[in-house]
């Protein structure tokens, strides 16, 4: 894929900031849930978001059926916001190897959300995620949008050179 994200956006996703995931069903009804973790691969091509199955049944089902995924990343203290989209995402249960990622995400969020006035206990409750309940959803972004509030909100960061591959 084309490199959509510049260094600052990659750093933002890698750091672990607020991440909200959406999809939709066959009738175009949207589904939504907050992620309990996020990660960007070392080659900066693949993004993984972690969801709790018990909190995201419809969303996971929609992603499985349609492949469609949209994720918005946002820094609470600065409102810097980025949305990534893809038409194909894969799911797998989280395992022990994901624990450091989830822990690092939680720590980053405690710091980020702490800056806007919510304590560590609150953030821990918000992101509580027993490993057996967690699903990792991975995708390669095919489009990216700057959504920082303001007149430029919604601007596409870099258009892909060719249309995305249609779903089978």
């Amino acid at each position: 894929m084309t490199v959509l994200l510049g260094p600052s956006h990659i750093a933002m996703v890698a750091k672990g900031v607020s991440a909200i995931v959406a999809s939709r069903d066959a009738a175009l009804r949207p589904s939504i849930m907050r992620a309990v973790g996020s990660h960007i691969s070392g080659d900066e091509q693949e993004v993984t978001v972690y969801l709790r199955r018990s909190q995201s049944e419809q969303l996971l089902q929609d992603i499985a059926h349609t492949g469609e995924i949209a994720v918005v990343f946002s820094v609470p203290s600065t409102h810097q916001t980025l949305q990534l989209k893809a038409r194909r995402a894969t799911q797998r249960p989280a395992h022990d190897g994901d624990v450091p990622v989830l822990q690092a995400y939680l720590q980053s969020m405690v710091q980020e959300v702490g800056q806007v006035g919510y304590g560590p206990q609150y953030v821990a409750a918000m992101l509580a995620a027993p490993l057996q309940d967690v699903v990792a959803v991975s995708f390669t972004p095919t489009s990216a949008f700057d959504q920082t509030p303001g007149p430029r909100a919604g601007a596409e960061l870099c258009a892909p050179p060719s249309p995305p591959t249609p779903q089978p």
Partner: protein, 450 residues
């Protein structure tokens, strides 16, 4: 998952704007979109209003595919709820829009985004279903206890009042002592002038009685114009909601009137209010005025404070209406009393017919109907020596130009009484019974009709 779907009412803490909500929509081509929204506002048991600020992807999607999913978070328990919504319409004026616009101005100032946060519309959505999302969360804090009892105490003290002055003071004291609201005021509507005037206040360095606010100006004027509560949780720098720019009342004077100084009674409000709530005083569908409270703290007034103030305002408005409409006293006029002894240097009282403004020794006292009243009282007093007057004769006097209905005569007399108390202790007005009062002039008076 909880068994019963929560009601919109039960998740109201999530709709206070403490934590931004997120919204998913879907393009007709099947691409989902997710975005933050500044406000999810409770409209009624089955509707919410979301703020429409930008023509963005969310906007495009919702106009073509009206289904939305919104995730909200309880700011105390960290419990998530999902709202399944169906877009109905957009309002760009009216009570919901204006109260959201005021709130947004506060949020925008607080988050340093005043320039980019402008409300274009209030998008009204039907709530089809609310899902309680699984999760451990934090234990819910104990509910605020005793709110109903507080309301009862305020209600009892309002119900005991027999006069307008007592009523307004009693209501403000109730806010101070029973609700811990230190800064508050009551403003009455002058319908013909399309403005509100402060008639009672508490917690300010100066009472500000007589200060005026146009309908639509600031939090107070907007609550009056739209007849809706307006609540702001963070200080706003938006000119529309700030009283910092105080209009000189001289601008309203007739063009040929001589330049007058000081015809602007300063608005008494806090210099830097962080939380404000203005509630219209409505009785039998008529707007009588506004009950207003503010605080130097952020997020001082929650939706429960608003509920409580709306309930108090309802009873206060009914009582104001009733006390003003009650027939004047049936008992005979008291025996004429001798005027109190007059001594000291003469007071120079000037009256400007153009706006009925009255100045005492060059200091502005009052204008409008209250100005016309004091001028009539002083003239009658000077010509005939009388000191006892009735509301009834004021109502019948065509020179005072009182409206036929809702003349607010009691409120205007109270305003006059207060202005005299604060600015001219040598002239005062005392109530001598229902619908009657006495004018006490302690210094010689020289009247000049300018």
């Amino acid at each position: 998952m909880s068994t019963a779907a929560p009601s919109l009412h039960s998740i109201r803490p999530c709709l206070e704007g403490a934590i931004p909500a997120v919204m998913a929509t879907c393009d007709p081509d099947g691409t989902p979109n997710v975005a933050y929204i500044s406000q999810v506002v409770y409209v009624d048991a089955t509707h919410v209003a979301l703020s429409f600020q930008f023509f963005n992807k969310t906007r495009q999607n919702i106009l073509r595919n009206p289904r939305a999913s919104v995730l909200v978070l309880d700011p105390l328990t960290a419990h998530f709820y999902r709202l399944h919504l169906l877009y109905e319409r957009t309002e760009d004026c009216g009570p919901v829009f204006e109260s959201m616009r005021a709130q947004l101005a506060g949020i925008a100032s607080h988050s340093g985004m005043a320039e980019v946060f402008e409300l274009r519309g209030a998008d009204i959505y039907a709530v089809e279903h609310i899902e309680s999302v699984a999760g451990e969360g934090l234990p819910a804090p104990a509910p605020r206890s005793g709110l109903l009892h507080t309301l009862r105490l305020c209600s009892e003290s309002i119900a005991r009042c027999t006069g307008l002055d007592e009523l307004l003071q009693g209501a403000l004291q109730g806010l101070q002592h029973k609700l811990g609201i230190e800064h508050a005021m009551v403003l009455m509507l002058d319908a013909s002038a399309q403005q509100l005037y402060t008639v009672a206040s508490c917690g300010y360095a100066t009472s500000g009685v007589g200060s005026e606010i146009r309908l639509g100006q600031g939090v107070i004027g907007m609550a009056a114009r739209e007849r809706t509560p307006v609540r702001i949780s963070h200080m706003t720098h938006a000119a529309l909601y700030s009283h910092a720019i105080r209009e000189s009342m001289d601008a309203h004077a007739a063009p040929d009137a001589p330049p007058l100084r000081g015809m602007d009674i300063p608005y008494p409000g806090l210099p830097e209010p962080h939380s404000q709530v203005a509630v219209p005083l409505l009785s039998a569908g008529r707007l009588l005025g506004v009950l207003f409270a503010e605080s130097p703290e952020d997020m001082r007034f929650g939706f429960e404070d608003e509920d409580l103030l709306v309930a108090i305002a309802g009873q206060l408005a009914a009582a104001i209406d009733l006390l003003q409409a009650a027939p004047d006293a049936p008992e005979p006029l008291p025996a004429p009393t001798a005027a109190p002894p007059v001594s000291g240097s003469a007071l120079r009282v000037r009256h400007f017919a153009a706006n009925d403004s009255v100045f005492i020794n060059d200091d502005y006292l009052i204008k409008g109907v209250a100005g016309a009243i004091i001028w009539k009282l002083l003239r009658d007093h000077q010509h005939t020596g009388r000191v006892d007057f009735t509301n009834r004769e004021l109502r019948l006097d065509p020179a005072l130009r009182l409206p036929d209905v809702a003349d607010n005569l009691e409120a205007r007399l109270l305003l006059l009484q207060r202005r005299l108390q604060e600015n001219c202790p040598h002239i005062h007005i005392e109530k001598t019974g229902r619908g009657r009062f006495r004018l006490c002039v302690l210094r010689p008076v020289v009247l000049e009709d300018a």
